[in-house]
């Protein structure tokens, strides 16, 4: 059966005191179903991700219980930051095998109000992105592990702090046009370079924010949906390493493989893409992805982002909802919002930040420390 994305939605985003992960996920799920014109009772497949703010032994069971549904297909998916894009693919596989006709993908949590920012930093350190025995005792932050990538990229290709800053400036400019985004005040490169140094060369504004929020989408084979569906044209995965210290060429990511496979499956090239919803946990991530997905030659990512090329109205608008840097980042669900925005752009629903005549969108997720990637290519249905 041919699966499409028929609905997308989100909970309240930003700071949502009084709402726990189940409240947020339920709100997002109902919004996506409303968008699709389907009812909760019609959902026969469910996908979620683990959360970090509570100890859920079986996340998908907790979510099914919160929604009051008994789906015939259910799974908890965890490829870290690549989960958002990978969920679409897994849901489409469940539909293709006939296991389900309508899969609800939903995830999110109260990452901001459940814990303090300091506690989030500690909690992330405890997740094990740094090897517990061979890395963590030296005291790297998660941003430090990305800073190592940035420093090496600067060394090999001459990428500059100003070029990194432009990524943050462009994406904040997009967030400014998104009423749901958490950080909407436009910033300049001077603001980024003048913000507190966290771990060289990354300043505070080179790093993602922390948010409450949940996102959802509905993947279905049903034809009786409310809006024009979005087609799933291609996807690919790429894996290079578990720990950053194990990767011999850290300026290059698994997006090389995930992008190649996704483009091959979709039968299109980077030049055909109207907007790229790139995973933007740090500014360097976007520059590396632009290169590794083939939007520019390797090493040219820094120069590519100059001159407004990744801003709305530019050659390749990137992460038009405002991304993890400025719109919303509640943890593993963060990458789902890139998919939600791609769907809305392809439907022409984005108002002031609409990419004109958007027909093909790429959404990309990055998990771990640039170790695991999932690229998705979506088309106007």
């Amino acid at each position: 059966m041919n699966a499409v994305i028929a609905g997308v939605g989100e909970s309240a985003l930003g700071r949502t005191p009084g709402q726990d992960a189940r409240d947020l996920q339920r709100a997002a799920a109902l919004a996506a179903l409303e968008d699709a014109g389907l009812r909760l009772a019609e959902v026969d497949g469910l996908l979620t991700t683990p959360i970090r703010v509570a100890n859920w032994a079986m996340p998908v069971g907790m979510v099914a219980q919160a929604l009051g549904i008994r789906p015939g297909y259910l799974a908890t998916l965890d490829v870290a930051g690549a989960s958002g894009t990978a969920m679409v693919h897994h849901a489409a596989m469940a539909v293709a095998t006939g296991q389900a006709s309508t899969v609800l993908c939903v995830a999110g949590q109260n990452q901001l109000t459940n814990v303090s920012r300091d506690a989030t930093v500690l909690q992330l350190a405890g997740v094990g992105w740094a090897h517990p025995e061979y890395e963590a005792p030296y005291g790297p932050l998660i941003p430090t592990l990305y800073a190592l990538v940035a420093q090496r990229h600067m060394h090999e290709y001459g990428t500059t702090p100003q070029q990194l800053a432009e990524v943050a400036v462009a994406i904040r400019g997009h967030a400014a046009l998104n009423p749901l985004a958490q950080m909407r005040t436009p910033i300049t490169a001077a603001d980024v370079l003048g913000s507190r140094m966290i771990t060289t060369p990354l300043h505070l504004l080179d790093c993602a924010i922390v948010s409450d929020g949940a996102a959802a989408f509905v993947v279905t084979s049903r034809k009786d949906v409310r809006k024009r569906p979005v087609s799933i044209l291609g996807q690919g995965y790429g894996f290079t390493h578990a720990y950053i210290g194990e990767h011999d060429a850290i300026a290059t990511t698994g997006a090389v493989q995930s992008g190649r496979d996704a483009f091959r499956m979709a039968g299109v090239t980077p030049a055909d893409i109207d907007l790229a919803q790139l995973y933007d946990c740090f500014t360097i991530t976007v520059i590396a992805e632009l290169e590794d997905l083939g939007f520019c030659p390797k090493g040219e990512g820094g120069r590519f982002v100059e001159g407004g090329r990744i801003r709305l109205g530019g050659e390749l608008p990137v992460t038009t909802h405002g991304g993890l840097l400025s719109a919303v980042h509640p943890g593993l669900a963060g990458g789902m919002f890139h998919v939600v925005e791609a769907v809305r752009q392809l439907r022409g629903e984005c108002g002031e930040r609409q990419v004109k005549d958007a027909e093909l969108a790429l959404a990309h997720g990055n998990g771990g420390i640039i170790g695991l990637h999932c690229t998705l290519i979506l088309g106007r249905g």
């Binding site: 005291g139 507190r196 771990t199």
Partner: protein, 113 residues
């Protein structure tokens, strides 16, 4: 599974069959598949592959130490590893700089060398 890392001499896991050095420890050699990995003394020489000066401590335990230098070191044996550079002013650290390992509380750290 390898025994714990030797705490007195900088060592890397080495394959008993093809002599390839590895890091981090793995259940088997990723080159030849041999399972006879053992810790072997390494030269201690290496160079800076990448680095970052940490200004914000990840936890209260590190607050007194900032700013400090985290680096990925390319060892002369081949494997990369994450470590600290000590005894060098953070602003003097450069990619390519020669380093030498020293054991500190059972873990390797690196000095200019």
């Amino acid at each position: 599974m390898l025994p714990p890392r030797p705490s007195d001499v900088f060592s890397l896991p080495r394959c008993g069959d093809c002599s390839t050095f590895h890091f981090y420890p793995k259940p088997a050699c990723t080159k030849c598949g041999g399972a006879k990995l053992a810790w072997a003394a390494a030269s201690g020489g290496g160079s800076v592959y990448s680095f970052s000066v940490v200004h914000r401590a990840p936890s209260p335990a590190f607050k007194e130490q900032v700013p400090y230098v985290i680096a990925i070191v390319k060892t002369d044996e081949g494997p990369h590893l994450l470590s600290r550079i000590v005894g060098v002013a953070p602003e003097a650290v450069k990619i390519g700089m020669r380093l030498r390992a020293r054991m500190d509380e059972g873990r390797p750290v690196f000095e200019a060398g």
